[in-house]
Symmetry: C2
Amino acid sequence: MRPLLAAQSSDRLRLVSAESVVGMGDKPSYALRHRKDSSMYRAIAAVADGDADAAISAGNTGALMAMGRYLLHTHHGIDRPAIATRIPTREGYCYMLDLGANVDCSAEHLCQFALLGAALSEALDGRAAPRVALLNVGEEEIKGSEQVKLASRLLRERSGLNYVGYVEGDGIYAGRVDVVVCDGFVGNVALKSSEGLARLLGQSLRQAFEGSLYRRLVGLLARPIIDELKGVMDPSRHNGASLLGLQKTLVKSHGSADRRCFAQALRQARLEVIQQVPAITNAKLAQLI
Amino acid sequence: MRPLLAAQSSDRLRLVSAESVVGMGDKPSYALRHRKDSSMYRAIAAVADGDADAAISAGNTGALMAMGRYLLHTHHGIDRPAIATRIPTREGYCYMLDLGANVDCSAEHLCQFALLGAALSEALDGRAAPRVALLNVGEEEIKGSEQVKLASRLLRERSGLNYVGYVEGDGIYAGRVDVVVCDGFVGNVALKSSEGLARLLGQSLRQAFEGSLYRRLVGLLARPIIDELKGVMDPSRHNGASLLGLQKTLVKSHGSADRRCFAQALRQARLEVIQQVPAITNAKLAQLI
């Protein structure tokens, strides 16, 4: 690896040896106990020690979260970190969390995610009072699971947060809210199923412009225009999900990220450091709790 | 209404007077108690009494489910009806359930949905051993919520069912399974968020072919080809979701269905009656339980 890195601007890089690897199937508790010499642990430890401003990993999400929580600590008032990412909408984008870090969430956890999402939107986009919504199966108050209904009541009572009520699945992309809050199971499935349908659509579009000579000719003309929509076709194209709720910056990249995607995750981490997301989150929490 | 209907083939229609209406915000228990003279109740009662083979409604889903359960009864071994629909996939289509009838589900309920989905696939498509999967946040055994993990263990123990393990959200559209099982909260959000992104994509595609004269010309050529993909663009285009688990046929149409969509729901109900979905479900349940 050294020769490859030497060809790059090596004065901006420092290598730290890491002997072991966190497996994709490792349980978080196991990884935390037995993988302290992995690159994942070393990178997060560097952030904790002040040797680095942020860590980025494309590895095992559960292990990343466990190590992040252990080494970087959550903010006061936050039980667990949540994974948030930017989603394209009709009006621009919104942030959605949690996307899989927490599969079983209480109403109180959902409220904490709402605070974290609002802080992220304020810090990164300078929005004064980001509109926060809970993801639900209907917009009426009587709809939803017990946790979601309780979380809605708790959020209505909390001043200092612009809680606007429920959105349904299609509301994620409608552009009427800035932050969409849900438990990690629901968020993960919502995002991945959207991506699945978008991929099916992309594939169907390609096939539609195959076959006859006429179709292929029209395809030649239309392709460059259709390709402009790639950002919408693949909502996770904005690679680099934030592990919110930690006192330092930790970013998760897709496991299947290519060079371009991984660079995007690096940019996301840099932006969060520059915009001081953890500090702004802390300040917001101090106001609210 | 009579004059309008008279213009149609009125010998195939019979009018039943219904004095009240189930409101979209009515609680199921309230509707069941106080709306016995609504068209929803009357239609389901006609099925229960043998005056009709199937009932179709575009109204309040919770009320429809409560009335269906009360009047048509669930199969032996089934606690609650589940809503299932056909979803386009890379290889054709699959069935997905539950889509919102049950927001809080136990592992046992998920197992019952798996049986209902397999029976539907067998009855409608003649598949001998439909591949049944649980929707989850990962494909590894350690992933997922407690209910999903327990349901997976229970399904592995059940012979007579071709349980193939977990699929993630994007797996719904991949075409590797015939039946996707999840709780109603997750299913509802997954389907609606997919639809939301597809709608955003459709809108973006239209906009991409506006603006310059060149773009509009290419759009004129490409539009008819792109329009062929409407079925994929809108997964719920196959309108008419089945309320499975009941001893007679009950079909739910989208509330926003137009004439074409509602006709599709009617066809779906007819198909289920002809293919004897309730009887086949009953037989399958008797084998398995």
